[in-house]
């Protein structure tokens, strides 16, 4: 009880100033991660967003203990994964990118194998398998071979496998890579439900909408270096404000209005439209009231705000990644 409380109050995963260097002191030396700092709270959905080869999977491998940092500390549930590997592995589950399922076994056989191998109590194995199959909505296909499944179904099954062991932390490596919209939504829904149940979810993705839809906390990572972290809204705000775009019937009126409000608002004049930076609703109302006399010369209003893609490109640039 006390222990649980402790976990709730502390960060479940803490990565402090971690460097990871492959083939150190050799010609092939390669810095995979540099000065990585991550703190993840219990029950949070934490999203690692980055282009290909940015170090997302490497970070996941640090958390699950497959890799050890060259410098810095990493603790998972208060333990060092490389030292207390077995204890840490009891509390986390990974859904790897490649799904790691046996194509020639059925969905149920895959889950039964994993449950038995992991050492789930034999009495409850069958019930547990039924339960997780239900969660990922694959009960009706449980006796079909995985080789016949679509990519989305395979990812859902891999998620079910991760849930078999009732982990505290779920590591999802690109959970919706290459799946259709329906499967993606279903997976997102399942992830949200898991988080609501108190599980900590750490996922990697290079899909902006995924990070935006799921991530309570997002860390943009590029070339092994953390670039920016925060909630999706915070990140968006960082690179720009919401804008109200007022379209006029004629450029003359647009110019007139510009002259009228320029001293009070952060506004730019572009042909027959004015772009006004307005971060709160109050400012928008106030402005619209001031402009009521120009109503008949205004054609329509638009609102725009920076999306995560803008944020992402802002921080990582447009250079191609291999």
């Amino acid at each position: 009880m006390d222990n649980n409380k402790l976990i709730e109050e502390k960060f479940v995963v803490e990565i402090n100033k971690v460097d990871l260097i492959f083939n150190k002191n050799s010609k092939k030396e390669f810095k995979a991660l540099e000065k990585l700092d991550i703190k993840i709270r219990n029950g949070q959905i934490f999203c690692l967003l980055g282009p290909n080869g940015s170090g997302k999977t490497t970070t996941i491998n640090l958390i699950n203990g497959l890799l050890e940092p060259t410098h810095g500390d990493i603790t998972v549930l208060g333990m060092k994964p490389s030292k207390s590997r077995k204890t840490v592995l009891r509390k986390i589950s990974l859904v790897p990118q490649e799904t790691a399922l046996y194509n020639d076994l059925t969905a149920r056989e895959n889950l039964l194998f994993h449950a038995r191998y992991y050492g789930v109590n034999r009495k409850y194995i069958s019930k547990k398998v039924d339960e997780v199959l239900g969660i990922v909505q694959l009960k009706n296909r449980q006796n079909d071979r995985v080789g016949t499944f679509s990519g989305g179904m395979q990812r859902r099954l891999a998620l079910a496998r991760a849930l078999l062991t009732e982990p505290e932390i779920l590591l999802l490596d690109e959970p919706t890579l290459g799946v259709d919209v329906q499967s993606r939504n279903a997976i997102w829904e399942q992830i949200r439900t898991l988080a609501l149940e108190g599980k900590t979810v750490i996922l990697t993705t290079n899909y902006m909408e995924e990070a935006e839809a799921l991530g309570e906390q997002v860390l943009i990572i590029d070339k092994g270096k953390p670039v920016k972290s925060g909630s999706p809204n915070e990140l968006k705000r960082y690179i720009g404000q919401k804008q109200m775009i007022i379209h006029f019937t004629d450029t003359t009126y647009a110019k007139q209005v510009y002259d009228y409000i320029a001293k009070d608002y952060d506004v730019t004049f572009k042909g027959n439209q004015l772009n006004v930076n307005t971060n709160t609703l109050n400012i928008q109302f106030q402005l619209l009231q001031q402009l009521s006399k120009y109503e008949k010369h205004m054609s329509h209003l638009d609102y725009s705000e920076p999306n995560l893609q803008d944020v992402f490109l802002h921080f990582t640039g447009k250079e191609l990644r291999d």
Binding site: G55, L66, K86, L89, L94, L101, Y117
Partner: protein, 376 residues
Amino acid sequence: MFHSILAIVCKDLLLIIRKPMFSIISLLVPLLFIIFYALVIHTSSTNPIVIANHSEGPYTDRFIDILQEIKSVEGPYLEIITLDSELAFEKYNNRQVDALLEIPKSFEKNLSTGKQSALKLKVFNINSDGTKNYQLRIDHALYEFHKSLNEESIISTNEDMTFVQDTPMKSYVSTGLLIFSVLLTSMVSTGTLMAREWEERTAKSIVLTPKGFLPLIVGKWVTAFLVTVVNTVLVLPLLYILLGYPIGQMTTLVWFYLLLFFLYGSAAGVLLGVLFKKTLPIVPISVVIGMSEFLVSSLESYIRGFAHGGMTEWLWRLGSWWPSSEIIDTIRFTVEGFEQIAINWGALFYMALWVGLMIIIALIKLNKQLSFTQGQ
């Protein structure tokens, strides 16, 4: 631990049943190799020949009888395809046989009158081994013929043999074939069962459990053991039927040694699986190791006698240094009933050491290679 091992075994057996082709081929390889070897082993004892006989009479008959009778413990030295002169030449000229012995018309007359008679041995000498074998066999026939003419005139030999009798070559080789089959099956089965987890990208889900590697390795060993047992059950009757292997004389100790060879093959398989993580190189490397064990270790006690100098001595020393050869001989002598059943503790310990070493290297390698590199 036990349940995890069982889970691996059940899963692998299910996969084998679902996709049995590889296992069937793995089982077939040693079986067919034994069949091939059984078919070719007779070349060491019996050589086909045609005889063009132009002579008639008691000396001729006696000589031909001798040609037909000369044999080793394994079988006749010569397979006389025909005694008909015309057919003999036809077969030789058409390259249906590599040797022709011509008994001249004057053979009978010369022997009756005390003159020397010359036989002509025609040989298609594309392989010096064949030429030598024909020459020595005809010489043996001539020696026996002269002995039958006048036993006192020839130089006789008294032989003091180390073993009460010669072990027939086919029986001698059978032990090696049995070991080859156990080794190859265990090595290929374990190696590919291990490598498949990486090749089919399923390893991560197994590795990332708190159970560690031991259930994985032991599970693979148990599955490979079952496959090897099936293989041995098929191989033994084949050895008995084709090569007369005395399977009835296989004692508990022999079975224990076979188990040891299984462990050796499995340990090598685990190491190969971990090193390569691909099935592509495992099969040929296993074949090479299995063949080397068969040709070097299992024949060591034979090679030992003629390995004086050159590459042969070097290879023999390598083979004698490896523990397999001593154990194989212990199995051989036990099965042939030459020696009292005794555990060869030295070789046993040595072999166990190698098995342990290979497993330790595999485990170290597994631990090191946990680094599923980025993006995988």
